[in-house]
Amino acid sequence: MNVKLVKLLLLELLERIVLMENFLDNAHCHAAEEADYEVIGSFRDFIKNIKGEIEASVCDMLTDDEREIHENTLYFCFKKTLTLSHIVNILHYHLYTVPSKDVVLSETHIFLNNFSRKIDYGGYYAPVEPTFILWNSYNFRHLKLPDVIISDMYQSLLLKEIMSYRDTIRPTTIIALPKIEFKNSFRWCLLVHELGHAIDTKFGISEKVSKEISASKEDMKILKEWTREVFADLFALKLLGPAYVASLAFFSSLERVLKPEESHPSPNTRILILIKELKNILKKTPEVVEDLINFWDMRCEYGRKYGLDSTENPDIKDFNFGNYESKMVPMVKSEIDRICKQKFNKDNYKKATELCKLVAKGIPISSSRDYDDKKLMKDIDKFKEMNEDIKVILLPKFNEKPNDISEIMNAVWIHRSTILEEFCSTFFENNQKSFEEKYKTFRDELKNIDKITLKSIGTADINSLLMEKGEKE
């Protein structure tokens, strides 16, 4: 059993608890009814108990020197973390019952519309501008308005007149994100996957691809669903780069990594397809991506070892994805290449590694200067001796260029990985600090990263708009 894996899984769990606590801190009751406070109070009690469990039965056991932790102790910690993660997942799912005034942030719109603009709609279609809702999971729906208004409950209202207009009304694209993650901007990478579904529905790509692959009638239903998912995954990867793979990897709970469903391939299948393509995009695999791949391999290895893949899903027992993968993936890729005007490339990654240094200093990165600071300082020194116009010689060098949102997200991801790596040792150090103190530092750090990311996203759009205006002039 690997100590680092257990520690990372525990930090992932703590991150989810941080999210839940942040959400509950802002939970607010309009009518201030007794029952609402009961709900908030019980969630707080649950979280307090889970934190207590983590402190007493897991953290304390991991504070020793890594070489001295016994295999059985580690196994116990691993199992305990899994159980607690499972409970936290259930709590997370039910948090939608908590009354709150939270709304989807304007940054979410800016974030996704930015990616939507990278699509070549060929002049035939209007760009996808989804409507967001806060729910308990990430989701995508393509609905016609009458279907939303007249649900099954109001069948009697199903007027013939309305139904005759049903097909003339443009369908609405609805993307849902979990209520507690409305501010957790790093996870928004998963929204690009949902945008992929919207684009797919608009262009009918996965429908077309699955029709071109000859599959048996039984397999076709699953193949269609899985093609949709593979399309959305590769679409997000091509626009976002490694940050998408990382957010998907950390989002997939350990107990599910090896389990396929009728609607989705197993997270492991999805990640392996993505990693293969990621290596093509980056050409040379950077260390941080290598770490991500190793971490994923470890997860799956332990998943297999401890029987987390044992329950077979009867619906897909006979479906062999290997028969179709080699044909389907290249077809999906070429369709994405056709519709994406601007894709993530290794230069974007290089820029992200530079921007990551600014994030570490707590500076938002919606834009950055091209000129090197030291060179600029020399230019300022020289300028004093020259008799030139400052507006021509010096000032333009201070202008910042807007960064792409994919670069921002990757810089944030690289920084987060470094922070998690650091916490892997500091959080479990046997020092004078109490669990609560360490937890607070962890929570503050995550909050800071979120603030920087939100500010960077929120300003990115207006930067580009003002810059465009200037250029046109």
């Binding site: 607010h28 709304v103 942030l105 707590g362 950055s368 400052i390 202008n399 708009l465």
Partner: protein, 234 residues
Amino acid sequence: MILDEISIMRRLVADEKERIVITPIIDAGEQFGPSSIDLRLGIHFKVIRRTEYAGLNPADPKEKIKNDIIRYCENIDVELPNALVLHPGEFALSSTLEYIKLPRDIAARLEGRSSWGRLGLQIHSTAGFVDPGFAGTLTFELNNVGRVPFYIYPGTRVAQISFYELKEESTYPYDIKKYHKYQGDIRPAFSECYEDPEFDKLRKMINKGHFCSNCGKKISAEDKFCKHCGKKLA
């Protein structure tokens, strides 16, 4: 000593300890003045729905004030090319588009630009001073004191900031100050005057008895739930 444009430039590229951070600088030629830099209006605004809000008493229980603020403050995000219309007498909070970070030996002063002042737009009423060590966006207290409503567009240069060098580095900068309420803010932040320690003392003086932490109304010591708002009591 107030910094001139060359000294500001030096500070913008200096080592981390001495560096002034202002980002984004979209057009330095437009933004730099002889001893200041113009700042732009951000996209977030905050207004109070005063028709519903009875009033703010900083000596009320903190929980009640916090709840009231969530309840009566309206957040408005404006994306270009849309604008916020500020009517005469109307007050709104907003923030700079730029993120500012000051070293420990630099203080700053935020001022409105005269072009807007002549139209009747005040961008701050009392809070123009920025402490050394501050990091975040600066909050504007927008007020239309003119007679005509006008449109405010995000990204426009409404203010300017000038910098003052301290004789020595501050030993008590904003980032280590005990009550730094607005450090790291990225949106316009509503007043947190009720967090000031003097109000804790005031609360003790005023509230002799038991009060609900949610609605602030009087309750008896035996109550399990507040009879006014229903909050479960500790």
